[in-house]
Symmetry: C2
Subunit: 388 residues, 2 copies
């Protein structure tokens, strides 16, 4: 291999085109475009003209063509595991787009195969993990600076999408073609960050609105409550119909709190001791002062504001560069491919809870999920049911 990884882009839609432009423009110094595959002839013409690389009509031919060291799967979500496995089987490194798949069983299959090929790099495009703000927050939480987590809350409704977005392709926002709505398309970033930073919950209860304010079969709004199993709980709210959306993420711990506004600014409060010890140390006179507004709690904590600029595209190109660096010199992956299943599991559990009208464990019955999903695909009547 040369000093640049030759990337095969499978699917030259909006996302694939963006990555191709990043690489062409030199934003990913350790990568070059090796080949492009697309099932549409006009996309192949564009690919050939614009990038001057070999083009293929299907991913199998691209994998067999010998032009690439690695691929990225910028195709509908259902195909991510299948193409990921095919690439790895062909001895080609695989960067899967998010989500890793639509349902956990297919993603587990991908993970299981990838585990047998440790010599190959298997990554996932969680570009938000490349956001320095969230990296810093993860460091603070992992380092125990705010103590054990008590409560988490993320309202992320900045995913506004007009009806025209859904109407532009036949697979979009269908059960059989896309496998869900905001949970599988937009919110996977936050579902990943939420569990990456705060841990994987044990169970979830959700209210999910299907076609609530958009003419689509799948969900356009989600409210989920999770239980971490140790008394701590969390909430997650997302929607595509809030024109002036909210992005507010709170993490309360035994020794502090983090409030992130707009994925740009984090206010980190560090208590001088465990909150419970501070509470226990207060006498009756302190209580009286508290009620009279005479207690100044600021001696009990410090606050820091963290802010990072983020350049458009830098997150995605950074993941591409990190993926290539892992191939070239073993640089640790920001987002190992095997992590992708966690967000899919959360999304599946949220769907399943809303379908059953009850709390479900994160280790829910995966066959039950697929049966329920296939019921919706069948009723929709546009795409074939999925096999386990």
């Amino acid at each position: 291999m040369s000093d640049k990884v030759r990337l095969g882009i499978i699917g030259l839609g909006a996302q694939g085109s963006m990555y191709a432009q990043f690489i062409k423009n030199g934003m990913v110094p350790n990568m070059q475009i090796g080949a492009i595959a697309d099932i549409h002839a006009e996309k192949r013409e564009t690919a050939s003209r614009e990038y001057g690389v070999p083009v293929y009509a299907d991913y199998q031919s691209l994998l067999a063509g010998g032009d690439v060291d690695a691929v990225v799967t910028t195709v509908p979500h259902y195909l991510h595991p299948e193409i990921g496995i095919a690439a790895l089987r062909a001895g080609i490194h695989a960067l899967v787009e998010k989500p890793a798949g639509v349902y956990t069983r297919q993603v587990a299959e991908l993970n299981a195969y990838a585990a047998t090929r440790p010599e190959l790099t298997f990554g996932i495009m969680f570009n938000q993990r490349n956001n320095p703000l969230y990296q810093r927050i993860k460091e603070i939480v992992d380092g125990g600076e705010i103590g054990e987590i008590r409560r988490t809350s993320w309202i992320i409704t900045t995913w506004w999408r007009p009806q025209g977005y859904y109407d532009q392709s036949a697979w979009r926002a269908t059960w059989g073609g896309e496998g869900g709505g905001v949970l599988v398309n937009q919110a996977p970033h936050q579902l990943d960050l939420w569990q990456w930073i705060c841990g994987i919950p044990e169970s979830v209860y959700a209210k999910v609105a299907y076609g609530f304010r958009r003419t689509i079969a799948v969900e356009d709004e989600v409210t989920a409550v999770v239980d971490y199993g140790n008394g701590a709980t969390g909430t997650f709210v997302t929607a595509v119909h809030d024109l002036v959306g909210t992005d507010r993420f709170e993490i309360l711990g035994d020794r502090g709190k983090i409030v992130v506004d707009g994925s740009k600014t984090a206010t980190v409060t560090r208590l001088v001791d465990d909150e419970r010890k501070l509470s226990d140390s207060m006498d009756m006179d302190d209580v009286r002062k508290l009620f009279m507004g005479e207690l100044d709690p600021s001696s009990m904590y410090t606050q820091e504001t963290i802010e990072f600029d983020s350049a458009w595209g830098a997150q995605h190109s950074g993941v591409l560069e990190n993926f290539a660096a892992n191939i070239l010199d073993g640089t640790p992956l920001l987002a190992p491919g095997s992590d992708g299943i966690n967000g899919v599991r959360l999304a599946n559990a949220i769907h399943l809870s809303s379908w059953l009208g009850q709390e479900v464990p994160l280790d829910f019955d995966e066959d039950r999920y697929l049966t329920e999903l296939n019921t919706r695909i069948r009723e929709e009547g546009k795409f074939p049911e999925r096999q386990a």
Copy 2:
């Protein structure tokens, strides 16, 4: 009756003393203290010395004494309905403290009796309804300015209470003495405002933490999801263990959004049309612009920031003054007593959902609630069980 209502203060604890001071200091111009009742001799001595009014050892004697036109029930919550009914029976106007009671059956009894005495004023101390910010928000919502509600969310964890607060009296934070924790003591204000402004939900699912970070039997943290029955949902989070608490209330509607920070500042967004119509009116080029960050949505809405100063005590004294004005000249009540049951019903439904581990309708089985409550009172072993 003179031009001032003679108020009987039943219970000279922290709250009763505060009202007595307000009246003594002239903050309630249409009220004077008529008499004070307290079961503790030292409180009666204080009352006599400090206010120079007749004092009584029990509320029955105060009601029979002929010194008062009205009473306020600043006593433990379980007693509010009983004393409210006794006052009205004696032909005395009643202002009940919040919450109206601990369980809906006892509050329904109070409401039913009050309905037979329309000539008497029956109010409740929802002092936050006297906050001009929330009055303005209610006007905006009721006036349809943000359209039909899609989603509501209130995180209100500014109710920090140290352990010493709970240890200062034997009835505090017990099932038999207080009947609950943050839901019956601190959060009733927000439970009232939430349903006053956004409407009464049809069902609730809740995760409630009992003695999670405080050594108490009752709840110190609550996460509730409500369903309004028309596709709209809401969340409500409250806790007493967040030293740097959050107070953030969001209401998303079909034509706009309101975000209230710290019960002080509201950002009101008004869309130029129904969000769905704006969504439908966008063509493919707009969608492309949206994804390229080239779409400026600000032409689709206007924003206004609303801010009010609030003076300490003004809310409570305002409710006292409004209550007296209703008695004297029929001024409409800010908070009719019969409204008190709505917040109690929400709190009961939240408890019951957490006890049963399932979603419960707001018209839950009230006998079931009382049975579950009595189970906890019995296990606690400190106070007698409650009779229906």
